[in-house]
Symmetry: C2
Subunit: 297 residues, 2 copies
């Protein structure tokens, strides 16, 4: 029977996801400290939103979720974790706290943190390439992941972000930055689920749009939390954006304007959900995912 | 007509390799400074030994080298370049000079250097996954490359190297370090050429062994040059190993013992070449490659 409740879906799928990540990371024949460092950041937890989007996208097109789906989802979480480790480095955002724990370089030193990031990035492609799905699908996933994660996606956005500390972006430039920095992996997550479930081109495009909207909402919400949230419940320092002279929505639009921008994105997404439903995509779980941007406020 | 002279082979193939790398890097839709930084290190040149090994391996099994072979070879050089950028970082080997030019982080700053490395690593998989060869071969190449480059290969060796600065390895441990740090990509290079030319399992194994021997000779030679070479002709600082308390062959075996170890590896490789010749692999170019370890001394 179909699971239509997000909490229940998470309760069933997230332990299986964790288990697959555990198994693969443990199986690596590698330097012990490097493995520990990689595992440290993966085990730090987090919301697992990207792999969850992979699984929900596949499931919502009618796929029965299998071991290889968890592996594809897990490989994305490894890649995301690499990006966090490198983003936190002293030469980048210089963060000391992540998910309530010392960041990787605070725990293992800067050299090992660079290597753990490099290792997780490479392992993501390694795992994906060894997963038991057919090669044509694998190549689609690998090329889409690389395009999303690399200099045509996330790494470009991260560069925009770092270089932006010394200048002010306008709204268009800020959106472009985030479309790369956070948007690209979230779009990939939805598209990957679609590829796994043999989505039509039209369905893939709708999933991509959902990922895009979700990414936009995610970033606006994240910027808001940095202004109005508190460190304890977030597990990381707040008011960092302002201190670091980052380009953010609240700085461009003010807190009220940023809240309005978030509502607008969520309204657009509600319309998109209708279109998804008209194209044989179950929207119940996608809809509940949007509560993320309401409940925690 | 078959090219049997290495210099001639390089003269014909290297410009085509450079051209393919140029084309792909220029085509990237990315932050301009990130692109510049990636190109800076790729354009710094170097001997292009890894892509050359890919091409020679494919060619020596009778393959007519085509555009996609240059792309597979080029994707490996991008990955190698990422590893140099990250290795040179202040938290790693802290090198200021590479191939006679300022290292990436000296030129672009540490944050951009981390991102340029991340970008090149990801681009390597991206390019490989988009190359026009059949998907089964691509998956073989991608998985082999990831295994060679990641925590089960190069990144593990690099971690051994960094952590070894505070302890002394024995010969076995030193060999293990280098089998990862430099050996893994050189083995992959030879195997990749074999995959491209539909080598038999037996031929693949011989190519892998050649890569292994080449890697061993390469590292011993590199360690020797650090002791007996000069900065000007090498384009990088010398005597760094000693200063940084690195584990090296000369420290373990002395200069004379290291020279003898190199001769031994080269003798073993001569025997391997005979076996390769008996298995329908043309060995002329492989043989001339070994001159690299003699001429420059």
């Amino acid at each position: 029977m179909r699971i239509s409740n997000l909490t229940e879906f998470e309760k069933i799928s997230l332990p299986k996801l964790e288990n697959e990540m555990d198994l693969y990371l443990n199986s690596l024949n590698s330097n012990q400290i490097l493995k520990e460092s990689m595992r440290y950041s993966v085990d730090a937890g987090g919301k697992r939103i990207r792999p969850l989007l992979v699984l929900i996208s596949a499931y919502s097109l009618g796929k029965k979720i299998s071991k290889s789906d968890y592996q594809v989802a897990g490989s994305l979480e490894l890649l995301h974790t690499y990006s966090l480790i490198h983003d936190d480095l002293p030469e980048m955002d210089n963060d000391e706290l992540r998910r309530g724990k010392p960041t990787n370089h605070k725990k293992f030193g800067q050299a090992i943190a660079v290597l753990a990031g490099d290792g997780l990035l490479t392992t993501s492609f390694e795992w994906l390439s060894l997963t038991d799905i057919d090669n044509d699908k694998k190549i689609k996933l690998i090329s889409q992941l690389a395009l999303a994660a690399g200099p045509q996606g996330m790494v470009s956005g991260q560069t925009d972000d770092i270089l932006g500390e010394s200048k002010k972006y306008n709204l268009e430039e800020l959106k472009h930055l985030h479309a790369g920095k956070t948007g690209a992996l979230l779009r990939y997550a939805c598209v990957a689920g679609g590829i796994l479930s043999d989505a039509s081109d039209n369905q893939l495009e709708l999933l991509r749009k959902y990922g895009e909207n979700f990414g936009l909402a995610f970033q606006i919400y994240d910027d808001l939390l940095d202004v109005i949230g508190d460190a304890k419940s977030l597990g990381k320092n707040v008011h960092k954006d302002e201190i670091e002279n980052k380009n953010t929505y609240p700085i461009l639009l003010g807190v009220q304007g940023t809240k309005e921008a978030l509502v607008e994105v969520l309204n657009n997404t509600e319309n998109l959900l209708k279109e998804m439903a008209n194209n044989d995509i179950a929207i119940d779980l996608f809809e509940q995912l949007l509560d993320y941007f309401k409940v925690r406020k």
